[in-house]
Symmetry: C2
Subunit: 348 residues, 2 copies
């Protein structure tokens, strides 16, 4: 799909690095006064005045984080930005700027890169982000994208992972597990395609799950909502590796324990029915799936009334003293230790 079979497509080596950058960035418009100098010099110049600067960076590697046989390049560009903005929102900050570095092998054409940048540009438009720099280079094989997001916050508003206190409520935005189920569906379709390339897949019943995988949204709206509701979480993290892993990060850094209730974890109905079809345990997916990009936070009990009944938030447990351990309370009220499946095991 991406190889240069079409003679009308432009090989990257014919274009040159500087021309490519000029071409890809020609439509970018500066949105923020704080962007004093954007692309085109050795460094971008940003003005954060009296606010604190937040910086986050992430790598997306072909064959590890994405598979181009089912991830359209435009979606990939969009997702690469989301993954990073999500980290800034998880600090209760507002993302303002990104830099994007791309290493590409010469199997990609100019038109493919334009697709990728279209996704990046769309994300920047939608989330009010200035694209201020980057690097484009060749690679021996594959596509690698590195995004750095830069944002701002007042010091008093910044929420770390280490502020959870015993009796705080554990709260999560949105629902969990669907992005990973979306990946499983796309992987299955890829296998079907290998056997029978003429098969027309009917994916209508999985729309939500696939969208969660291919076009995740970072929860800027939740940061705004928390501000409107005057809720300052005691700790916060975004759910990129999976609920259990993230909650354990909060507990470890805050030196606390927790009770997480299996029956409280928010699940989309499409996820539940698809898990039945795939004979997968829905809780396992929600705990370990990852890539949800929801915000997991702890809030003081006194703030409960402010979020009660708000469909954007679900209370899923309580913070306890450290010596109480990190517990998962199952549907039958039995208790098991909450475990992180950790790096590399996500694909099991």
């Amino acid at each position: 799909m991406l190889e240069n079979k079409n003679k009308n497509l432009t090989k990257l080596e014919d274009l040159g690095e500087f021309n490519l950058i000029d071409l890809l960035t020609k439509d970018l418009k500066i949105k923020h006064k704080s962007t004093i100098k954007s692309i085109g010099d050795d460094a971008a110049v940003l003005d954060y005045k009296s606010k604190k600067v937040l910086v986050s960076t992430d790598f997306l590697v072909e064959g590890v984080h994405f598979d181009l046989s089912y991830m359209p390049l435009k979606h990939l560009g969009y997702k690469a930005v989301m993954v990073n903005l999500s980290d800034i929102y998880a600090m209760n900050g507002i993302a303002k700027h990104i830099t994007v570095s791309i290493a590409i092998s010469n199997r990609f054409t100019q038109e493919a890169m334009e697709e990728l940048y279209a996704g990046i540009t769309l994300a920047c438009e939608k989330y009010d982000i200035d694209f201020v720099g980057g690097d484009t280079t060749s690679s021996v094989t594959g596509l690698t994208i590195s995004v750095t997001a830069i944002g701002e916050a007042n010091l008093k508003d910044i929420v770390y992972r280490n502020g959870a206190k015993p009796n705080d409520l554990i709260v999560v935005s949105g629902d969990l597990g669907s992005a990973f189920m979306g990946l499983k569906i796309l992987e299955r379709e890829k296998e079907v395609f290998k056997v029978n390339p003429k098969n027309q897949p009917d994916l209508d019943q999985y729309t939500y799950l696939i969208e969660r995988q291919l076009k995740p949204e970072a929860r800027k709206d939740i940061v705004r909502l928390l501000k409107d509701l005057k809720v300052n979480p005691t700790s916060m993290i975004d759910v990129s590796d999976g609920l259990s892993s993230e909650l354990l990060h909060i507990c470890k850094q805050s030196k606390v324990g927790c009770d997480l209730y299996e029956n409280k974890i928010p699940l989309d109905p499409q996820l539940i029915s698809t898990c039945e079809e795939f004979k997968l345990n829905v809780t396992t997916l929600a705990l370990n799936g990852g890539e949800d990009y929801e915000l997991l936070m702890t809030i003081s009990q006194k703030d409960y009334d402010k979020i009660k009944g708000n469909p954007n938030f679900t209370v899923i447990g309580y913070i306890k003293e450290e010596n109480a351990g990190t517990n998962l309370v199952l549907r039958d009220n039995s208790i098991v230790e909450l475990k992180s499946r950790g790096w590399g095991s996500k694909e099991d």
Copy 2:
């Protein structure tokens, strides 16, 4: 060399991502008050108060930017940081923070990563930099490093590429071409090694050239010196792609022309003798070699007395009106058009 043949070495998959990050970053000490929150949360929190924030990012890709058969990992870590700091210095700013993202295949061991980080740490020590974040992920093949450098400057001190004026002097720090010649020597030794692995190379006569390739230094000292001398360049850029390419960037962005004098380009004696040995044109190397990480700047004629006779600076030409063109004045006083060899042609 890097494969896990030694049973005592630790496979990365046995260690896990979070343990690896903890291990590699355990000796990092915070140097700046402005580092409010470093590694260990979703984003770093930095305090730049009333200064402007400078951000620069670069990718280093195995097989494209480095060859591990002659680039020790510690040097690679050091160089990855230098490449980025150099961009901040080229804005006449001071680098304060970096984030480092690394994608690695599982042919690398924990010990190999520790070597890489030792180089990064050394660079941070020497250049007074706080390492504040990053991402460590697996890759299908090879090693990719993405560094983002963040620095500060007062608005009035920042030097862009677009401020060169007719009659300004073109000035460069240090000498040029040696880093590329160092690469040519290392490539020759690799070929010799392939034919006769027992050959002991005698590289004593090339020490400077090889060091320029394997352990470049970013010119923080020049930024300080310019301040001490009260010289504010009218434009500046770091020499990463080669003198001709960088000077053309300045001319294009400043909408000016130039006369660059071949006989003024600063060359190390070791480069001159080695070019004779290799039957290479030393001017071609100095113009197109790249990776020198010297600072190329333009200064007003009124500042000439401040730099005159200073061994750190060489005047190599003059800025002219745009319609005068971009010229290289050869040793015989004939004039040719200055050309950039551009992306991908550096290895020719």
